[in-house]
Amino acid sequence: MTVNEFAKVLELEQLNIADGDRKINGAYAGDLLSWVMGRTAGDNVWVTIMTNLNICAVASLADVACIVIADNAEVMKEVTDTAKNKNINLLRSPLPMYELCVNINKVI
C-alpha cells in the first residue's frame, strides 16, 4: 500500500506528505534512534513519540517510507518545516503507540 492509502485508512493527520505514492513495506516502533536505525528496513513505517528535529535526519538516512507520531505528541513547526525541506512523509495519530501499532498491523 502507498503512504497516501495508509494515511487515509488509518485517518492519520498529514503533517507533511512529500511522496504519497511511496510504497510501504513493514513497520517498526521505537524511540531510541540508534535502535531505529539498526532495526528498521528501508520503506518501513516508523512509529514513534519522539518529535525532536533529529527524527528528520534519522528518517531520511534510514530511508523509512514515513514517520507516524503517536499519542498526538506535539510537533514543532521547525520539524514540519524540515520534513518539507527533506521530503519526509510525516503523519500523526491521537492513538497511543500500542493501539496505533495494532491498527497498523491490520492494514499493512
Partner: protein, 140 residues
C-alpha cells in the same frame, strides 16, 4: 567509474540539532550517482552514527568519503577524548551519553554496533586525550 570521488566535511561539534548534515549530503550524492537504495542506506546510517558520535562525544571532527570502483570508504576523524575501552564501547547498550542527549533519543549504545553491522570493514584507531579515527568501507 574510473576515478575516485572525494567528499570532505567539517562536522560542527556545537550544533546538535543540525548534526547529520554531512551524512545527508553524502546520501544525496550517492543517489545522484545512481547507487542501489540498500547501499545508500548502509553508508548513510553508518556515517550518521559516526557523525553523531563525533558531535556528542568528541566536540566535532572531520568526515571524508571516498567513492571508488569497488567500495565506498568513510573516515571519521576527531580530536576528542578518545575511547578508553574499545571492546566495551562496541558492545550493544554501552553508553556514556549524558542525560540531555538521552532525552533526544540517543545514548542507547547502539551506534558503534550499527556502524559495524552496516559496513563490510570497520577499523578504530583511538588514543586517550588525542582523538579517534574510524575507517569504514562498504563494498559496492
Amino acid at each position: 567509474m574510473e576515478e575516485q570521488l572525494r567528499f570532505r566535511y567539517e562536522v560542527d561539534g556545537d550544533n546538535f540539532t543540525s548534526a547529520g548534515e554531512a551524512s545527508v549530503s553524502v546520501k544525496k550524492k550517492l543517489r545522484q550517482l545512481g547507487f542501489a537504495p540498500e547501499i545508500i542506506r548502509r553508508v548513510s546510517i553508518a556515517m550518521y552514527e559516526g557523525e553523531i558520535n563525533m558531535v556528542i562525544h568528541a566536540h566535532g571532527g572531520r568526515a571524508d568519503v571516498v567513492v571508488s570502483k569497488d567500495k565506498i570508504e568513510i573516515t571519521l576523524d576527531d580530536d576528542g577524548p578518545g575511547i578508553p575501552n574499545v571492546e566495551l564501547a562496541m558492545q550493544e547498550g554501552f553508553s556514556t551519553a549524558p542525560d540531555n542527549i538521552r532525552s533526544l533519543g540517543f545514548g542507547a549504545g547502539m551506534g558503534l554496533p550499527n556502524m559495524k553491522r552496516y559496513t563490510d570493514t570497520m577499523k578504530i584507531q583511538t588514543e586517550l586525550g588525542k582523538g579517534t579515527k574510524i575507517i569504514m568501507t562498504v563494498n559496492i
